[in-house]
């Protein structure tokens, strides 16, 4: 029956169906351009521990504190490291953050805890890295349905490698590139050693020598979530490409025993700092939760870092299920600057030209 209304309805449905992939693609990437190549890059870090069981309030407090720390400089991205228990609490935390900050700015993952110049936290805490200023551009991308969250290496090694390389390549291809791209931050649901293959995939599009850092999300049952533009995802990965007039020096070290964890944290921090021509404006440290588990005193590793970097530079640190960056000399790749592994602490020192 050729009724005009039905025909119009059919056309509308066809339009919606054909638009849906485009809509989804738009939701899975975002680009905030670099406004001024000689502009300022500002990075600030805040951390809040929730001792009252009130994640909404904790999120609001952290977001308010970050906004204050940015001192009027507009934010372009906020990276979250949080360790609240269970999906409900994590949703509430995001809701609290979104009361103060535009949710489109919010990226990150559930981790095993965080550390800043103020100390180390584990349970029920949130740490935020604010990235802003007209001297930085941020391109972000999300890849979903990695298909590997519930696969174990023992039984599914070949499948894991194939799927994660593919996903990494896809993610790398979604990032809008800029001539001044300087640092790629990757946050996948890919517990070491899976992260190795994910990084290899990304490098197929971004290049083997591109500086990258990042960490894998908390893999405890019921806790694994990735955050992209304020929404929660599982079995996914995100990328944040930072562009601007700044440089990054990177280092990584691996250890599994108390004394070596402390020593390698000091060594890696010193190596990264040694390559920076001036005092860094921020330090990122993607660390392994297993390293923390081997410490007699959780704060000893942070103290070692502070011996090198001092106590004034903003430090964004988090504990992960796999780390991305330059591998320890014992594992170093000859074919790429960076890789994905475990038991590492990965430092990135950022300074402006």
């Amino acid at each position: 029956m050729n009724h005009p209304l039905l025909t119009g309805f059919s056309v509308a449905c066809l339009f919606v169906v054909s638009l849906a992939p485009g809509v989804r693609a738009a939701e899975e990437s975002r680009h905030v351009p670099l406004a001024r190549p000689d502009g300022e890059l500002v990075m600030r870090v805040v951390m809040v521990e929730d001792e009252k069981g009130e994640p909404v309030a904790a999120g609001e407090a952290a977001a308010t504190s970050l906004r204050k720390a940015m001192n009027g400089i507009p934010l372009k991205a906020v990276i979250i490291s949080e360790c609240f228990e269970g999906k409900t609490y994590k949703e509430k935390l995001l809701a609290g953050l979104s009361k103060v900050l535009d949710p489109n700015l919010l990226y990150g993952a559930a981790t095993y805890g965080s550390f800043t110049q103020e100390g180390c936290t584990d349970f029920d805490s949130v740490c935020l890295l604010g990235i802003g200023g007209d001297g930085v551009g941020v391109s972000t991308a999300l890849v979903r349905e990695l298909g590997t969250a519930k696969l174990s290496f023992d039984e599914h090694e070949a499948e894991i490698k194939q799927k994660l390389r593919e996903a990494g390549k896809t993610l790398g291809g979604k990032i809008r590139r800029h001539a001044r791209d300087r640092l790629l931050i990757l946050i996948p649901d890919a517990h070491s050693p899976k992260n190795r293959y994910f990084v290899e995939g990304v490098q197929q599009t971004v290049g083997a020598d591109f500086p990258m850092t990042g960490g894998s999300a908390n893999k405890n049952a019921g806790q694994t979530f990735i955050y992209f533009r304020g929404r929660m995802y599982q079995d996914s990965a995100i990328a944040l490409m930072l562009s601007g007039n700044f440089q990054a020096s990177l280092s990584g070290r691996m250890a599994q025993e108390n004394d070596a964890v402390i020593r390698t944290a000091r060594e890696a921090a010193a190596e990264a700092l040694g390559e920076a021509p001036r005092r860094p404006l921020a330090v990122l440290a993607y660390n392994c939760a297993g390293r923390r588990g081997r410490l007699d005193n959780m704060h000893d590793e942070l103290n070692a870092m502070q011996e090198v970097i001092g106590k004034n530079v903003p430090l964004f640190g988090c504990y992960n299920a796999g780390e991305i960056g330059p591998l320890d000399p014992a594992e170093k790749r000859t074919d790429a600057l960076c890789g994905g592994s475990g038991w590492h602490v990965m430092f990135t020192m950022i300074w402006q030209d």
Binding site: A221, A289, G293, R294
Partner: protein, 241 residues
Amino acid sequence: MTAQSKRHRVVREQKIAVASAPYFKPTIDGDPSDWKDAIPVSFSQGDKKTTIATYWNRRQFSMLVSVEEDKYVPRGAANCFDAVQVALAPRGTETGHAVDENARRFEYLVFGKVEGGDCCCQLAQPGLALAEVARPRSLNPLMYDDAEVAIKRAGQTTHYEFSLPLARVRKHIRPSEGREFYLSVLVHDPDGTGIRDWGVAAGLWEHQRNRLAWSDWKGAQWGDVPPMDCRTQWGMCSSKY
């Protein structure tokens, strides 16, 4: 491993068990279906198999000990009864060899009662005199109601499923991914295999047998030789995925 000279060939086999507890909070109801994401270890005595699976979370350490046996005997059904005895200790500590020393472990006994109800007793905590540990104590004063226990029989297997609160333990063993500690298990099957000792299966040496490593209690039936030390290596991890 094989070593060969011109005239001799020596072969030694060593089996290594991965003993790790992933993060999870199981429902303690005797149903083993919650445990598919655990990393179990198994050993056999005669033709009877025992499987030990563990989980941890912020507040509890949970275990499923599955005991293949012809018959399950709860307390009260006979003079001696079936039970699972568990010891947790911080890494780097030792058991002690003299009764004037103190225990450096947490120790529990899990069993059922013929009149119904599944129980846990706390047999030891750090600081308890080993002289007390060595004495066959009555269990009633040692009941530990904070533990959750469910014992269910399925076919030829008795499943002991229990969760131990970490509130008292965390000062000594801080729960965290990557945390290493000691855990060992004895299964009491007096009408069947006798004592089943994970320490034997884990490969402890004969000189590591230590009567003071395990609390005595009324109703226990011990073998001719002391059990192995209660310190075999275990760890907490995030996930097997």
